[in-house]
């Protein structure tokens, strides 16, 4: 069974609005390494639209820093599925599916392959509610961000989710990457 991986940048107070965070080389490098084990990215519409035109351009034009360019190449190269009932067209190696997230992920997990990375706050929260996430990477940024989109907004977890800590890595910038698995 393939593992489903959830990677998220958050502030100390659980705010996941990416505009609160300053991009850094060491974090890009951490992500690029993570994505070596991923051969499929599943996104919601908003997350796809936010990430991919932007990062494909960076990859094509090599317009970022060294770390950003390598990250851009890594994620642009990976096949993508966008779960959406309203999106009409996508680019490159992406394709649209119009099924429920739970069904999509359960089917994909049965197929052979490397890990599946899921993106988008709403999609990830729904999958967490269904217990379909196997691995979590939280990159905690050294900021209390205040108002803004929260990690689990609008979602009802069936109960507490106990995780197993695999590794905690501190970066020069003060960010800390916490890697957990869900063994339940």
């Amino acid at each position: 069974m393939r593992n489903v991986v959830y990677v998220m940048n958050i502030s100390i107070d659980g705010n996941c609005d990416h505009t609160n965070f300053t991009p850094q080389e060491e974090i890009y490098e951490y992500f690029t390494n993570l994505f070596q084990d991923v051969d499929l990215i599943v996104d919601g519409r908003k997350s796809y639209q936010l990430m991919f035109p932007y990062w494909s351009d960076v990859a094509k034009n090599q317009s970022g820093t060294k770390g950003a360019n390598e990250f851009a190449e890594a994620i642009t190269r990976i096949d993508k599925i966008v779960i959406s009932n309203t999106l009409h067209s996508v680019q490159g190696n992406a394709r649209i599916v119009r099924e429920s997230p739970g069904d999509v992920i359960r089917k994909l997990k049965q197929q052979p392959g490397k890990k599946i990375s899921v993106g988008g706050v709403s999609l990830r929260s729904q999958l967490m509610e269904l217990g379909l996430i196997d691995e979590f990477h939280f990159i905690i940024h050294p900021v209390i961000a205040g108002e803004g989109k929260r990690m689990l907004e609008g979602i009802n977890l069936p109960g507490k989710l106990n995780l197993t800590l695999v590794d905690a890595k501190a970066f020069k910038s003060g960010c800390v990457a916490l890697h957990y698995t869900d063994k339940s």
Partner: protein, 183 residues
């Protein structure tokens, strides 16, 4: 402060049964606490502490942590944020009922070691709002609660932090030790 990954310090009714603490954590925490000379509490946490710690070291089945922390608790100067308590009968305890910034700054100006704030989410919210907290010593538990009492509430402006140290504990808790970046 012991927190869940999603930033809660207790369940919705104050439940703390999910907090992992063991000898390894007690020993580590004890070293820093032992050096502090002032403990700060909100009223509810203070009452919980008073119900347990003064005599905890004397119980027949007292653990090493019970004995050590009880001794420290009885010695440390306590400051309690409360609008309703009176300090007439309390030894070694000061009550702050109003004028929080001035009273806290008075204590900060005095010569002495760290002032450690324990638990006390409601008091913490007030202190954060008045910019009176200089550092966060967090123990992140490997759990997502989904709901509960958050550590941070009504934050108006972003607060930048500096990471001092981190440490992984065998039970899966991660210590994150920050100061507030005052630049």
């Amino acid at each position: 402060m012991h927190i869940s990954l999603d930033g809660f310090v207790a369940g919705p009714n104050g439940e703390m049964d999910w907090i992992k603490v063991d000898e390894e954590i007690f020993d580590h925490v004890g070293k820093r606490i032992g050096e502090g000379d002032t403990a700060l509490y909100g009223r509810v946490t203070y009452q919980m502490m008073e119900n347990y710690w003064p005599a905890a070291g004397n119980e027949p089945d007292a653990s090493k942590h019970d004995i050590e922390h009880s001794k420290w608790y009885n010695k440390v100067h306590k400051v309690v944020l409360s609008k309703i308590m009176k300090d007439a009968d309390l030894t070694n305890t000061t009550i702050i009922s109003d004028n929080l910034p001035d009273r806290i700054n008075e204590i900060k100006q005095q010569a002495g070691k760290e002032i450690l704030l324990f638990g006390s989410p409601t008091a913490t919210h007030s202190l954060i709002q008045q910019n009176l907290i200089d550092g966060y010593w967090l123990f992140v538990n490997p759990i997502i609660l989904g709901r509960g009492i958050p550590l941070f509430v009504d934050i108006k402006d972003k607060i930048k932090l500096k990471l001092l140290t981190t440490r992984q504990f065998t039970c899966g808790v991660t210590e994150l030790n920050y100061t507030v970046d005052k630049q």
